[in-house]
């Protein structure tokens, strides 16, 4: 399996963003990775519905994502991986999936989170996970849409 792109966006596939990113990243499959969403029939149904035409989408648990990455049956997959949070990304990386770069698109504000850009808010758990990903040499860049300039996430969480 080829890793086309890795994105954290707590809305996962939404609107035409998936279409724009799909074109930009030239993927042919979308795998949304979340234990929570994989167990939620309605959210899962919606995600599968809104995947762009011609692109097969899957919603899987973290364990399943690691297993699928290592399965030679999926050698022709050019996959856009979607996550809702960095802790899940870390778990997949620790499971042996070699992400080189992670795009952070949207993590909405909730009470107890710190807003670091217009579209990205983080809590302590997120910061810890991002730091560990950074220590592994993985690029962490904030961009909402493909044409935005890349913002280095680590520089934004230094003082948190």
């Amino acid at each position: 399996m080829e890793i086309s792109f890795v994105r954290i966006d707590d809305r996962l596939i939404h609107g035409q963003v998936a279409t724009v990113w799909v074109k930009e990243t030239k993927c042919n499959k979308i795998i949304a990775v979340s234990d929570e969403v994989a167990a939620d029939t309605l959210r899962k149904t919606l995600l599968l519905q809104v995947s762009p035409p011609g692109i097969k989408a899957y919603v899987v648990t973290i364990d399943k994502a690691i297993e699928a990455y290592n399965n030679p049956k999926y050698a022709d997959f050019k996959t856009l991986f979607l996550f809702t949070n960095p802790t899940d990304v870390l778990r997949v990386v620790e499971g042996g999936v070699p992400f080189k770069s992670v795009n952070v698109g949207g993590m909405c504000y909730k009470e107890g989170k710190t807003q670091i850009t217009g579209a990205v808010s983080v809590d302590k758990q997120d910061v810890d996970a991002f730091r560990k990903l950074h220590e592994k040499g993985i690029e962490l860049e904030i961009r909402k849409v493909a044409s935005d300039p890349k913002v280095n996430l680590i520089s934004k969480i230094q003082d948190l």
Binding site: G15, Q16, V17, T19, V20, K23, E24, I31, K44, T45, L48, Q49, P53, K56, Y58, V60, K64, A68, Y74, K144, V145, A146, S147, D148
Partner: protein, 139 residues
């Protein structure tokens, strides 16, 4: 990059472009033209021409307008009729504009017009009917 002018009844075009930038990001080589109550089609032709002056259309230009046969369509036709590298697509909606933004740097004008129409049509779906026909494939 093919230039884009969105023309509609009322301020719809301006708002459509604002909404497009929410999805796509900053827009370049794009203009919006509004047709306000009481304006003449001649006036609208002038507004389109003024918009055209702000755009680089050396690779072609596509007008995206709301109603087929409406005043924005008619006014755009009067301009497009004089140039080979212009086309007009009616029925503009947000998915259509986003798709045009995504593809206008790599496609030729004729293909872009086809893609725009397909994107507009393909975006119309019923939740219920998809849900009833959906089959899930496991990894």
């Amino acid at each position: 990059m093919i230039g884009v002018i969105v023309g509609t009844h009322g301020k719809f075009s301006e708002e459509l472009l604002r909404s497009t930038s929410m999805v796509f990001g900053e827009l370049e080589n794009v203009a919006g033209v509004t047709f306000e109550p009481g304006e003449s089609v001649n006036g609208l032709v002038d507004k389109f021409k003024a918009a055209l002056d702000t755009i680089d259309w050396s690779d072609g230009l596509i007008f995206l307008v709301d109603l087929f046969g409406g005043s924005p369509y008619n006014a755009a036709s009067r301009i497009a009729a004089n140039y080979e590298n212009m086309d007009i697509v009616s029925g503009v909606n947000l998915p259509m504009i986003v798709d045009v933004m995504v593809n206008r740097s790599t496609e030729q004008l004729g293909d872009l017009a086809d893609l725009a129409i397909r994107a507009g049509q393909d975006s119309m779906k019923s939740f219920r009917s998809i849900k009833n026909s959906q089959t899930e494939e496991e990894l």
